[in-house]
Amino acid sequence: MSVHCGSDAVEQLLLALADDEFVASQRYAEWVTVGPTMEEDNVLSSIAQDEMGHARLWYEFLEDDQSLDAIGYNRRPDERRNSVLVETEHTDFADTIVINFLYDTAEQQLLETLCAGAHEAIARRANTILTEEIFHREHAEQWLARLVSTAEGRHRLRNAFERLLPRSADLFSFEPAITNQSAELIGIPFDELRDQWFKTVDETIDSLPIEVSDGALAAAGSPPEHNGRTGGHTADLTQLLDSIHAENLPKDHPASGYHA
């Protein structure tokens, strides 16, 4: 990828954010027509559509002479830089809401720093995305409040936090090239941003009538077991990317040939 918007580090950061959006969208789209209510089907498919559009916004900004399919569709798992949190398969609605909450809280913070940044073209895009992401976060918060209204809801939500907090540890664990330049890129060190994120997450969980273990919370703030930001993904991402590349497509489709 050639230098196009300042530095390689900027491009690497934006690519990671784009991959987050792309992978998150694909997972949300798995909820189309199987959500708890028709209203929620509508919202989840709308979020999936937003995220796929946001990812395109970044990919197109970065693509230069590559096609959208080459950069967005056909990169292999080890080339992807999304957080392992968003690649996690979520078929329990409690998992969906917890990922929605943890990821969109982080994303909102990252976008806000980009909006305040010096690079105008990036700030403009970040701002466009942010206006929609705010609704995504509200969606998560509304559901957290609703789901704790029954014992089963509290139980499932607690399990979801236990399972997913450790997988959110890589949200701000970018490669050294990016981290070293955080002052120029986003104005503050990523560690500080992570602390802000952790405080919000901790306070939100604290406000809910559920007991999440200290271990799970601590794991969210510790070095990640799998770090998607450096290409260390879980089997979930391989499964997700494999599902994109249907093997019975005619050979001249962009998504064909991935398995070759």
């Binding site: 189309v32 027509t33 708890p36 209203e39 809801g153 590349h245 249907a246 019975n248 005619p250 489709h253």
Partner: protein
């Protein structure tokens, strides 16, 4: 003047070319037939999205994936609006959904078949949504005002879906030999289903006749089918696609298209819940419904808590009583 109008029977009001509105007195027959077609079109939107969802992960390019998600989001929205319309007429949402899942209310014949190839998704959007569009377009003139207004919005969005389908068709029609062959094979599969979509001929369908008389269905099954041929035959020819019916031609004397009578036995088997994919899709949806029951229970509990706390917060009500 207004009061006098309301005392007229529905037939008289229709003869005066009046539009029926929410809250007007309805006969049981009118309400039942109206709710029947609304549930059919709502179910079809929903099951259409349900059929296409399998291809969202596998869509063969980024732009196609984005278009397919957008399309499905629209369809869910259309279904939701139409179920709401039936709710306003006294139907219960949960009952409508369970009756769909139990196979007691129908949905478009196309969504009972497999969509194993990407070209099936293209043809569903172009040829089958195109068939549904003839019906939807005619419903913009239905005698029930709220339904007509929703159909105006639905048709506006469906235009985009059909265009998305046509892009796929054009890609195949102008593509490699392998693609052109897959396209023709796809049309061979879907053409008879599109012809059947409109239902039995008018002389065989008492219900359809009655719906036309009550202005619920402004056009008859056969009229819509002929209109579909008028629109799609030139399109198919433009893309060099053969119509897989050797008895198909325009009869100048009769001023209509002649075609091989559809296999109504197959049609009845399919729409009564015995299509190749009917039960598998309904099963999947039933599982989803059961798996998410706890979410709906939490919603109910939350709404009750909210109501209770509103009541306590406005405590004066208690003291007055």
């Amino acid at each position: 003047m207004h009061i006098e109008e309301n005392t007229l029977s529905i037939e008289d009001r229709l003869a005066n070319e009046e539009i029926i509105e929410l809250g007007d007195p309805l006969t049981d027959e009118y309400r039942d037939l109206l709710c029947g077609i609304i549930q059919f079109t709502a179910n079809s939107e929903f099951m259409g999205a349900f059929t296409e969802r399998e291809w969202i992960p596998r869509a063969p390019s980024y732009q196609r994936k984005l278009a397919l998600i957008a399309k499905n989001q629209d369809e869910i929205g259309h279904a939701q609006m139409q179920y709401q319309l039936a709710e306003n007429l006294g139907r219960d949402r949960e009952e409508m959904l369970t009756s769909l899942l139990a196979g007691n209310t129908g949905f478009g014949n196309a969504f009972h078949y497999p969509a194993d190839e990407w070209i099936d998704i293209g043809l569903l959007a172009w040829m089958l949504d195109g068939a549904a569009m003839q019906l939807q377009h005619s419903l913009m003139d239905t005698s029930y005002g709220p339904y007509a207004r929703i159909m105006r919005r639905v048709c506006r969005e469906e235009e985009f879906h059909i265009r998305h389908g046509e892009h796929i068709i054009r890609e195949y029609a102008t593509g490699s030999r392998a693609k052109r062959e897959r396209l023709q094979a796809g049309v061979d599969r879907w053409w008879p289903r599109a012809v059947m979509f409109f239902g039995l001929s008018d002389d065989q369908s008492e219900k359809s006749k009655r719906m036309v008389e009550l202005g619920i269905k402004p056009k008859s099954n056969d009229e819509l089918r002929q209109q579909y041929f008028d629109t799609y035959v030139p399109k198919l020819r433009k893309y060099d696609i053969e119509i897989p019916d050797e008895n198909f031609y325009y009869d100048d004397a009769a001023e209509k298209w002649q075609y091989t009578a559809p296999d109504w036995e197959e049609f009845n088997t399919i729409v009564s819940g015995n299509g190749p994919k009917t039960q598998q899709r309904l099963d999947r949806r039933r599982t989803a419904f059961e798996d998410t029951a706890w979410v709906r229970e939490a919603m109910v509990a939350y709404n009750e808590d909210e109501k209770a706390s509103r009541f306590t917060n406005s405590g004066s009500i208690n003291t007055i009583n």
